[in-house]
């Protein structure tokens, strides 16, 4: 459901900066359903990749072979991401906080002696800064959804409204946080992540229970439409091709 909801969030024709894992599955699902002209851009430098099978890394051969063009890594960041040419950036997170800030660096208070060392920033800080908007896809739990991230790897709304402008970040920031339970959006006034949608069969209380801060719930809470047969078939197809 999380993958399908993420796929639906992608408008046809949009330029989408895709990370590996669920974002890549969602983007490829979108391209096979409602958004055939979605432009997939991977940080490995592949622009307009049209993989027939799900890539296992962001640098798989199938991405280069099917791309409109392959550019160098400096170029993908400098000429394509940095100036704001990308509509949507897809990010994951180990932790995400009330203001959509993301941690993929360390768990624990001491950076030099972390409780858990995570992979680090990758392309995320600049994706979060420069894409017109960001979609975060992350499984919901109080460990992941925290009041304040241990380390800000990628900036969401900082400490609240106006922070992005103050920091000179050109993109709008996280527009959607899609979880296995529902969807959160930043409150237009407070920039605080607010539950606006739940997936079928999920009670809002489940979402608030799986969140490490008192999660605001929108006045009118919608429910994610059930997956269509076409979506399920396309997703099965993608996963089958990806192999065991």
């Amino acid at each position: 459901m999380m993958t399908i909801a993420a796929a639906r969030a992608l408008r046809d024709g949009a330029r989408c900066f895709v990370g590996i894992g669920r974002p890549s599955t969602a983007a490829n699902l979108a391209r096979r359903t409602h958004a055939p002209d979605l432009v997939l851009i991977y940080e490995s430098g592949t622009i307009g990749a049209k993989p027939g099978t799900l890539p296992l890394s962001i640098g798989d051969g199938v991405l280069a072979e099917t791309a409109d063009t392959v550019v160098s890594v400096p170029e993908i960041f400098n000429y394509w991401l940095q100036p704001g040419r990308i509509d949507v950036g897809f990010l994951g997170a180990a932790q995400i906080d009330r203001y959509g800030n993301i941690n993929t660096t360390v768990i624990g208070d001491d950076y030099r002696s972390p409780r858990v060392r995570l992979p680090g920033a990758g392309g995320a800080p600049e994706i979060a800064a420069s894409c017109r908007e960001v979609i975060v896809v992350v499984k919901q739990s109080p460990r992941a959804f925290v009041e304040r991230v241990d380390f800000v790897t990628s900036v969401g709304y900082g400490s609240g409204p106006g922070d992005r402008a103050r920091l000179g970040l050109t993109g709008r920031g996280p527009a959607l946080v899609i979880t296995d339970l529902g969807i959160m959006e930043p409150d237009p006034e407070t920039a605080e992540l607010t539950l606006t949608q739940v997936h079928p069969g999920v009670a809002p209380a489940q979402a608030t229970a799986a969140t490490g801060w008192p999660l605001a719930v929108a006045g009118t809470l919608s429910t994610t439409p059930e997956p269509t047969a076409a979506e399920l078939a396309a997703l099965r197809d993608l996963n089958r091709q990806a192999g065991p």
Binding site: I58, G59, S72, F77, Q82, P119, G122
Partner: protein, 277 residues
Amino acid sequence: MGEITSLRDAIADLAFDGATVALEGFTHLIPVAAGQEIIRQGRRDLTLVRMTPDIVYDQMIGAGCARKLVFSWAGNPGVGSLHRFRDAVQNGWPVPLEIEEHSHAGMANRYVAGAAGLPFAVLRGYVGTDLVAQTPNIKPITCPFTGEVLTAVPALNPDVGIVHAQRADRAGNVQMWGITGVHKEVVLASKRSLVTVEEIVDHLDPRPGAVILPHWAITYVAEVPGGAHPSYAMGYSERDNDYYQAWDAISRDRDAFGDWLTSTVMREVRAILGDQA
């Protein structure tokens, strides 16, 4: 320049204890064989530089080659964590590992500055993140025309830059295609360099998407077929996804890793020594 030699001789000449060494390759064309040769030659106290430390750096870190790691994303792509890296950072095993951490955009631009002979690069990046506080190598810089404040990062100029590529000709000109990442930049940024190639050919016929490095911009070229395994060389090999999966179990445990090291990487040492005996 562009001298064709063996992997062993190239590493012996280029890599020295305490050197700053960059092995690059963005998922594709990773010079894994060269990294394992550095392990075999027992280099120590290296500052390892790489945007995406993955299996080969996990191996080098686990083998105790590294004193410091400069990087932007350390993981086993598509699988999970790098256990040797985590063990070194969290527990100092086998030796403590200092880290300097960047974003991809920052690292890529550091190589660009290095290749361009500039002391620093400018980008829109890092602003608002906690990365800035962790290293003196991220600083603000003000545009002298608009007054806008951007971010500066210092050039990377490794002592040794190593990449894998598809082909070279007999003069040592190198041709690569597919995802070429920061291949050109790291070779040009480094004081000395090695390109391992799948194949040395008489003539580099032009290919769509190919990047050429002229022989005079490279120190050594060594023919190492399969030298990127378990990553791939487009047109020559496929990514060995099973190896990436298997690495998770091998690397999770110090003993299993030790066994792997002895039975694979170091066994070649014995074989080599045997040859010479």
